[in-house]
């Protein structure tokens, strides 16, 4: 029983990272209809910023997360306004190609600056945690989960309670009508992408603490963001939160299948995604549009 409880806890904690990775991706996909193949690269840029600040200034990694968010927001805004906006009305394939290219550029720039060495952020309190008998809740993943939930709440607040957020919702509902009422499309698009990138940056900061990073370490997260958003459902931040937590649970339980069954963890997770697409395409919590 304690083992089962521990696995549930581990799954939810793993889900924290997936939530953070997924909310930004889902926002950009839902509003801009861009499947950002460079999302993983944005995540890793955030990881490197956190790592650099931790290593040179000895800043606690959780305190560097706002820096990641701001830096990636600026980068995302500039990217959208300067590069991606040019193909925003083009067919989906063009955005695939462009973001794929941006991904390659970002990875190689990181490789050039930081080299391929594996790095990780291991603060002094890493490894410690709350203990309830034989069940352990380690601090770093716990705080990461908290950060991810806070991030999602902040994003939801921005989207639903601020002017720019309502403008973004309007564009997502009907782009031409939004323009008719005077919403500046380019600025709103850029803010959306910037917000998505900022979430990616925060996710990156969390990842730097949970694993070893190298310029190519972001690639799996693009795919996992995809699955998280589909599992949860496109359209609402809370849906992505559910998707991320569900993905974490599925991954941990699939990996605890005895013997060799655990190598099918990925297959099981993606199989679940296919199942959701077939039976409930709007996702666990999403709304059909």
């Amino acid at each position: 029983m304690a083992d089962f409880v521990q696995l549930v806890i581990l799954g939810l904690l793993a889900g924290g990272v997936y939530v953070a990775v997924g909310v930004g991706f889902g926002l950009v996909w839902g509003v801009l209809n861009i499947v950002n193949l460079a999302h993983g690269a944005l995540v890793i840029i955030g990881s490197y910023i956190t790592w650099q600040l931790f290593t040179t200034l000895h800043l606690d990694p959780f305190l560097t997360l706002p820096v990641d968010a701001v830096a990636l927001f600026v980068l995302g805004y500039a990217l959208q306004r300067g590069v991606i906006n040019r193909i925003i009305r083009a067919p989906l394939l063009f955005t695939f190609l462009l973001t794929f290219g941006l991904n390659l550029v970002a990875i190689n720039v990181l490789l050039f600056i930081f080299g391929s060495d594996f790095r990780s952020v291991t603060p002094a309190y890493s490894g410690q945690g709350l203990e309830f008998g034989s069940v352990v809740i380690p601090y770093v993943p716990l705080i990461s989960l908290g950060v991810a939930i806070l991030l999602s709440a902040a994003l939801a607040f921005i989207l639903n309670r601020t002017r720019i957020g309502l403008a973004i919702n309007a564009i997502a509902a009907d782009r031409d009508a939004a323009q008719l009422v005077g919403i500046d499309l380019r600025h709103a698009y850029a803010v959306t992408f910037g917000l998505g990138a900022a979430c990616a940056g925060v996710a990156g900061g969390l990842i730097a603490m949970s694993q070893a990073i190298t310029p190519t370490a972001g690639e799996p997260y693009t795919l996992q963001a995809f699955v998280v958003v589909i599992l949860g459902g496109l359209g609402r931040v809370s849906a992505t939160v559910v998707g991320g937590l569900a993905f974490g649970l599925v991954e941990v339980f699939a990996q605890s299948i005895p013997g060799s069954g655990s190598v099918f963890a990925n297959a099981i997770a993606f199989g679940l995604m296919v199942l959701v697409l077939v039976t409930r395409p709007q996702g666990l919590l999403g709304r059909l549009r």
Partner: protein, 406 residues
Amino acid sequence: MTVRKLALLAAAAVAAVACGSGTSTGQTTITLGAPLGLTGSLTKESTLTQQGYNLWLDWINASGGIVVNGVKHPVVIKYYDDTSNANQSAVLMQKLITEDKAQFLLGPYGSAATATDAAIAEQNQIPMVEANGAAQSIFNQGYKYTFGVLSPANKYLEGVIDMAATLSPKPTTIAMLSADDNFSIEVADAINSYAPTKGMRVVLYKKYKNGATNLSAEVQAAKAVNADIVLNSGHLQEAIAINKAAKEQKLNAKIFAYSVGPSTPDFIAALGNDANYVYDGSQWTPQVKYTPAFYLTVSDYVAAYKAKYPGLGDPDYHVAESTAACLALQRAIENAGSLDPKKVRDALAALDVTVFFGQIKFDSRGINIYKPMVVEQIQAGVHHTVFPADVADAQAKYPTPAWDQR
């Protein structure tokens, strides 16, 4: 254009071509081909491999080149980036042979790419000497043109078992975690059959997807069996993930040993104090005591590495084994007295020489089963060789203290 201008242009072109072709001294260079994963998931290890090749390249060209029947031939190594993709590596290997006219081949990094490249070397009947593909599956294909200077995969963790058998209180149970690529599975399967011969039992054998970054479920399974020894067979990223999870989830053991990862400085830099007490099986450490027949001694090699690549610490075994591959090829060419691929291949098959890396001799399949693995342990942030006793520079710190007692 007038005829006069055309004639002048043609004359200039002919002159340019005449100046460009051939070497000034009339010597032919020997071209070696090497596809490496310089970008992608294996960038770090491929860079180390390239460092090993280049260290030898500088040395051989400083002395004029490889001597073939009294004539010195300078060496050129043509590198391509296979982006850590094994199939791409084979494509590039073929390109090196067909377009770049590589006369001999140096291996890529990793068993996956080495396996695909070995097939190309065999098809083209050009010898490939490799140092970074230890999976025996490569050498069980009956290839005649691939030679591996490193100890095969099955030996990677056997040294740890040998060492454990000498320690007191003797550990008896093993939890084996393994990635699912061919190299890692070979390492793990070897332990499954070797451990009982030393009086130990494998109580858990769990595989996970190669490249996984969240291994909390696997660590939880290892915790449930409470084994004396926790082994991981995988690569650097997984070793770091398992170590972090072990501390978080309070997995304790008398011995933590990872097949690949702890030997690189990245492991210590990434984990800080949490890296202490970890063991790994190593192809080579700077503490080994071999008397070389040619090239540098162990201490001179370490100094040469530090001079060419300052700030990186001691050379890791990936660097040393890569240099050893070049040395094997060089000695074989010298012994053959020819650049004919078949004669060099035969010379490689008959080779038996000791260099700073250890004995280089190939069994009938082409892999070096004659050089022993050593066991290292990280103590206070520094690597020490702890087994076998004749090359050890420190005692093993055994048993590993529990996480909350460090």
